[in-house]
Symmetry: C2
Subunit: 502 residues, 2 copies
């Protein structure tokens, strides 16, 4: 943990604060908030992802074709999943904002945070109600009540924090305008719940208005920000009106987002998606004792052979998720500071990652039916492609402002730049190739697809060696051409290259 | 993350190392292992816990009594859950040992680690096979193959690490005896897989021997250690034979265990258990549109009233898990160094935590049947009691060696000592009270039980105030009796107390 700290030195001032004061604070009952935040991240990431299970578990029997009613059922469930994912990530972003203000916690804050988490975990249920009964306003009413409760608990956390200022982050603690900040933050936090209050009232009369109001809750700050930006561009850039204004709660796309928490949330999503797979394997693919006795004369190996494709699918999916995590991990090693916009792109990538169990379920469900087989492979390819392309987008966004967001190695022209590019491009390319194979090759099957997935990591290693060799050649060519000014640096690189290739 | 670092300064030398060298290492392709380890912890904790789902989902219909066949089915599934939990925690402990040796990682190590994780996630399936077909040796054979594969991948990691010594932790990196260490570590890592190899062979002839050998794999190091300890006691303590021996890989119960990873693993278990509940709620408690139309004439609120007890049970369980996490969190804030034995006690506590979804399912399943109702409340009480009592045991163990394992505040006589004691004693006491209530009060029902669960956090806050007041009174009495030598310290305490009570 200490190792990941170095890159953040210059960005997360409030983190530094907690490191300085440590556990043995002036007042003995304050605590570092680190572990509570990791726990919250884990909870939120699981909640965001777990709603894919009801989608993946929608049973489609062999004699049943993909008709209207099943399509509608699937669409409903997918909508619930996406809405849950969206709203949980919004709640998560709000939670990050909140705890960028609060530096330290005590027992009361920990309990308030748990209460807030409990209400958030209840949100998916309100979505299930909304999706199952679109004509009944009860679902949206319950949802509004939840949002109001979350807002109130967050307001309680802020009020408590300002009441015991040693809990606040140092920037605010040392400022003169505490009262102004408190008002500003409470205003922003309570804006959403206030709109939800009206939405809850409207849900009894004319509930489309409620949906409109809810949409406003999510997009209002960005619209506000956009209008402000346009005005500034038209009228001409004004000087900073409020020199004391905060770095947080700006809703600017360049607003910093705790990199550590983005990583923790992503780890949670990847881990739960990887393990949902084995749950399916354990529940569905253990043969029934009676069936083995009757159909296979007690020969278990014979019985397991039937499940062969499922195991292949499992390993293929695990490899895909593992490697996508690996790319994400490599990417964030090179990122020094995350912004709200990068966080948003990461959320999109994760939403597709969360859809992978669905792809897995599809490719195994339809393994026998040759017609839908190709379709299910295509769904898998599309999901993988978008998961990969959004990771690539994070990288591109970071490159636009590379001085601030990236470590020197990964910047344009840096030693790791080309390799990082290759890594990020791998999955979009692989899924494109697989997708086009389904169009041209008539023999393409799920088995080949899963084998392809399993082979990819070796492509990674091959890539590593290829990039190294190319770079080494390029470098030796340029070294021959120019004088020995940066000989020392090259020496070091060649040493590393030699080590890797040995 | 930086905040939690202070207490570990003196223990985790290898963590410090990665902080010193940071991301921008001498060789650009090495990375801090922090995030990979968190991801592994998340994966392993989910795998360990998720096998409770098949147990909890065992359907018992209202007309079906608790007969032999269902008892056997449940027992099988619980056995699978416990075996999975045990073996995953053993694998996790081995993983910690391994990465106390490896300080930094590079891409190859990250991929090797992912491969190792993939094989570990497959272990639960082999248990399902073993439990469903106890007479067929295939399950145990597959299990042995997995263990051998895990051992080989770990050996590959160690060999790779010793081949590029800059990846090793500093203690080994600076030592003269690298070859000796390598041999020693490889010996220990490959001992298990070697025994499993024989177990795999025996599984074809006479598989009870295989089970015996597998038992040996887990207990051998401890037996070995115990024999050595007895010999030392009988013959007389010998001086250290190997002055160069490592702090790790001793299998001594005082061997240090990375506190950070114990916390990460525990967080994973608590988070997944808390969220498994909402999954059940969303899958089972959304009424069917047709049923609502027919039975309740389209009145959704009427229909939801039927599920009332389930929501109460959900909130009760969430509160229980949340508070048990909170106690764990408070406990580990005061712990400076964890040992293997404390890790073991923590594992037992977590195994019971993992059983809580079962308790939840039981109390909701039997909510209508008055006879089994009391029994299911008792099961919940027993599970909660053991989860709490093992947390208490961690604390007691830490107190035995408090100079080394605890922060000054939490030691005997420290400011937080009494309060920590009260926190840890709360859940065992509450579950004992609830258990005895089921014996004496004929009116005790699940509703009362869940209301009781929801009230507990307020008891926490009450406890805080009570303990503070008692301490303040005690302290003012002793201050009056003795001269003002420690006046300053008291001043500070009173200030804090005043702040909390205000």
């Amino acid at each position: 943990m200490a190792g990941a700290e170095t890159p953040e030195e210059d960005t997360d001032v409030q983190m530094e604060l907690s490191a300085d004061t440590g556990d043995e604070n002036s007042c003995e009952n304050t605590q570092s908030s680190h572990r509570m935040l990791s726990f919250s991240d884990a909870l939120l990431s699981i909640i965001a992802t777990v709603m894919i299970l009801p989608v993946a578990h929608t049973k489609i029997y062999p004699d049943q074709r993909f008709d209207k009613s099943i399509q509608k059922l699937l669409a409903t469930k997918i909508a619930v999943y996406l809405m849950t994912f969206l709203i949980v990530t919004v709640a998560w972003a709000a939670h990050i904002r909140l705890f960028q203000i609060i530096g330290m916690i005590d027992d009361t804050l920990a309990l308030l945070n748990l209460a807030c988490m409990m209400i958030i975990t209840f949100l998916p249920y309100t979505f299930s109600l909304m999706a199952s009964f679109p004509d009944v306003p009860l679902g949206i009413f319950l949802f509004c009540i939840c949002v109001i409760a979350i807002g109130l608990s967050q307001a309680a956390i802020v009020t408590y924090g300002f009441h015991y200022p040693y809990l606040l982050n140092r920037q605010i603690q040392q400022s003169e305008n505490k009262a102004f900040y408190k008002q500003h933050i409470l205003n922003i936090i309570l804006r959403g719940p206030a709109l939800c209050f009206f939405a809850a009232i409207f849900s009894f009369f004319f509930f489309p208005v409620s949906y409109l109001l809810l949409g406003l809750v999510i997009f209002l700050p960005y619209i506000n920000n956009f209008i402000g930006w346009c005005r500034d561009k038209l009228v001409g850039t004004k000087p900073e009106e409020q020199p004391q204004s905060l770095e947080f709660f700006t809703f600017n796309i360049h607003e910093p987002l705790s990199k550590e928490r983005v990583e923790a949330f992503s780890d949670g999503v990847y881990a739960i998606v990887a393990t949902l797979l084995i749950l399916d394997i354990c529940e569905d693919n253990v043969p029934d004792a009676k069936e083995v006795q009757e159909k296979f004369h007690g020969n278990l190996i014979e019985a397991l052979r039937e499940y062969g494709p499922n195991f292949l699918a499992y390993f293929g999916s695990f490899v895909t998720i593992g490697l996508l995590w690996f790319v994400h991990h490599s990417l964030f090693l090179h990122v020094r500071k995350t912004t709200q916009f990068m966080g948003l792109l990461n959320t999109f990538s994760l939403a597709f990652i969360g859809g992978l169990p669905l792809a897995y379920q599809q490719t195994t469900e339809f393994a026998q039916q040759s017609h839908s087989e190709i379709e299910s492979i295509r769904v898998s390819c599309v999901i993988t492609f978008f998961a990969g392309i959004f990771q690539f987008a994070i990288w591109s966004t970071a490159l636009l402002n590379e001085q601030e967001t990236l470590h020197p190695f990964a910047r344009y022209g840096g030693k790791e730049h080309a390799f990082m590019f290759a890594k990020l491009a791998l999955y979009p390319c692989v899924s494109l190739v697989a997708f086009s194979s389904t169009c041209f090759l008539s023999e393409f099957s799920t088995t080949i697809f899963h084998l392809m997935q399993i082979i990819v990591p070796f492509a990674f290693l091959l890539l590593r060696i290829l990039v190294r060799i190319t770079l080494a050649i390029l470098r030796s060519v340029t070294t021959l051409a120019r004088p020995e000014e940066t000989m020392l640096e090259d020496e070091e690189t060649r040493l590393c290259t030699a080590e890797i290739l040995s």
